[in-house]
Symmetry: C2
């Protein structure tokens, strides 16, 4: 393998994270930011989950998720459903307004990505999605 390929990936990855965080720090639709978005995404995909599970899935400390959850609850985006099996725990359940704003935010992001890749071929977009996913999986597993 040629080293310059790795160097390119390495550099562009650093730049990407820098740019994306720069965008998303300004880019608040409604009351949502990127971390809140990811948390709501989990709920929207997997249904109600507890803090522990969310923390595992998102690779975050439970304390971080606990605070995010509290903040989302305060905004009326989720509410806590007691877990009758384990009374220490509860499930975070998306509210209607949570679902709404999540979808709005998601759409805004999609629009943004559409613009960013509007001169790409379908093949390129597909490849990009595929490789990002593959890379993410690698990070998780290695």
């Amino acid at each position: 393998m040629k080293n310059f390929i790795l160097e390119k990936i390495e550099l562009e990855m650093a730049v990407l994270v820098r740019r994306v965080t720069s965008i998303t720090s300004k880019n608040k639709i409604g009351n949502l930011d990127r971390s809140a978005y990811l948390l709501l995404h989990q709920l929207s995909v997997h249904g109600p989950l507890g803090v522990k599970t969310l923390a595992d899935n998102l690779q975050l400390d439970t304390s971080t998720v606990s605070r995010q959850a509290a903040s989302l609850e305060k905004k009326g985006y989720v509410y806590k459903v007691p877990d009758h099996v384990d009374r220490r725990a509860y499930f975070l359940q998306l509210t209607e307004s949570g679902t709404e704003d999540f979808n709005e935010y998601k759409q805004a992001r999609l629009d943004r990505f559409k613009v960013l890749t509007d001169d790409w071929t379908d093949e390129e977009r597909q490849q990009f999605g595929h490789l990002l996913k593959k890379f993410n999986k690698a990070i998780l597993e290695k």
Copy 2:
């Protein structure tokens, strides 16, 4: 264009940023973190630059770069060279130890990326680098 491709990119991008920030927050080689790395990278590629130029290139506020520069100076990684043409300004110049630690950090990152993509084809790695670069360019321009 199919929307699900965009959805995939959109989601994986959010996950990527989440995971990469999670890694790099723990991942300190020497005294360097990701933002410091990017700043040093600029200097290493373009030679001595001022705070303003760095801020523009990195899409950061000058105050942020000013602090990063101060912190790097304190660590002995850069020093200030007065700009005799504009006496408000100066250039940040990499020191030897700055160059050394930069290279060490870079190598550690490269090793990490090597592991993460060790089961990829060369074609995939190349494509990934290419698309990341293309995407970064789009963010900057659109």
